[in-house]
Symmetry: C2
Subunit: 246 residues, 2 copies
DNA sequence: GAGTTCCAAATGGTACGACAATTAAATAGA
DNA sequence: TCTATTTAATTGTCGTACCATTTGGAACTC
């Protein structure tokens, strides 16, 4: 049980790249489990003494660890840097950032997404429990109900679409698929918006989500895949239409 | 052509979370293309004036951007923060960190790779030209020849394995598959090493690569997929064996 | 003129000190 | 007992000075 004043094996930081050094030592301590998630590191001033350096160096190192998603920093008394449970979100943001900086052909993205979506669907049917499947179906139902109420809030629909995708990815019980799916949703949800901008595609897409989730809940993999195929056919059509009009 | 003294749209940082604010503004400027890769940001002292804040805040923001892989920092005259070309390495490391901290089962990674490998193979057969296919086959042949010469250099074999995977991914003509494959190869090739450490698995794996590339060159997708399946069955067996002995 | 050496400027890296802002806990008061 | 206030601990910010490294030019030597 590492407390705030514990003597972790921190050695004085080397000159020139002290910030790097400090960050690496603390990261190693976290990865070695010397500090458990939920516990806090010593205060910046304590760390400054342990590393025999300036407070600015410690702050830079903390900033780096925070960016990596390793710690969470709280202000005030009893504040400090608390070791965080690893979240797939950080890794996803990193991938999304990379994808954003490259301008990638939307068709390539659709192709890729369809590929992993099919696998995810198969895995979700095989591995997730009945409750999850019904929850997924209910969420698709909820999206459909929003539509009939004459409330075509595009932002809300797109958000629900993202959540359905991520929820489904989680049901695959494989964190790597979650990684990819979240990254795609973070970086390229704008392409999906076109599906919900047009009344026809909006109606078809929502109905397709209902069909897909229904087949998943019914443990019908082939029919679910067929429905997935329809989804991406719609998306490609929609992108094609948009390209022609622009 | 943004020069070091250009007036980018930076507004004074808000108190309380100035570091965040600065980092976000600069990141937005980079993502909007206001600063092109290779160009440099203003010096820390200039930025301090533009944001009307302290230099420590700027340094923390820079550290965050550096951690995200957005900039590269050089010391000395004509030094500063230079916008970097996006690298897949960062996303890879981020995922590796997550998987390590959460102690994710290697089988998840194998499952994921098999999934996209199958799609890549189909696409490669459909889209790549005959020359590429023959080149791929030749490279597998070369690996086999290394084996018969009684020169079991594990590092070389693993490297050739990586190259075969990336080459195949490139033949899919979809850059996303290529990036994902690179990310996986960068961060997690260590698992594959076990295939080449054991004489039996080494022999089988190399023979399997020959078979796979041969079927790809022959435009036989189903047989190629069958061979791919064999590859991952071997990998799972190998991991299982390793787990039992440890 | 060519090459070398040396120095000065620019820039990131470090250290230190002071104060502000925020938060949890202790304390005083009703 | 409950509430309001104070207090202490901690992060967040600012400023200054100085060190280390790199570049480029100036001065010097051959």
């Amino acid at each position: 049980m590492s407390d705030r004043t514990d003597d972790l094996g921190f050695s004085p930081a080397k000159m020139g790249r002290a910030g790097e050094d400090v960050a690496l030592q603390i990261e190693a301590a976290i990865l070695d489990g010397k500090i458990q998630p939920g516990e806090s590191l010593p205060s910046e001033r304590d760390l400054r003494d342990q590393f025999q350096t300036g407070r600015g160096v410690i702050r830079e190192a903390m900033r780096a660890l925070k960016e990596k998603g390793l710690v969470e920093i709280r202000k005030g008394a009893k504040g400090g840097a608390f070791v965080k449970e690893a979240e797939v979100k950080n890794a996803s943001e990193s991938l999304a950032l990379f994808l954003k900086q490259r301008d990638v052909d939307p068709c390539c993205l659709v192709e890729f997404r369809e590929s992993i979506d099919r696998t995810i669907t198969i895995l979700a049917i095989a591995r997730s429990d009945e409750a999850s499947k019904r929850q997924l179906e209910a969420n698709a139902e909820k999206m459909a109900s929003l539509l009939v109420n004459g409330d075509p809030d595009m932002a809300t629909l797109a958000e629900m679409d993202r959540e359905l995708n991520i929820q489904l990815a989680g049901m695959s019980k494989n964190p790597i698929f979650q990684w990819i799916m979240q990254a795609i949703q973070l970086g390229f949800s704008s392409h999906d918006d076109c599906l919900y901008a047009d009344p026809y595609f909006r109606k078809e897409t929502v109905a397709n989500w209902q069909e897909t989730t229904r087949q998943i809940a019914a443990n019908e993999p082939m029919r679910a895949l067929s429905s997935i195929g329809r989804h991406y056919a719609l998306l490609l059509d929609c992108l094609q239409t948009r390209k022609e009009t622009s």
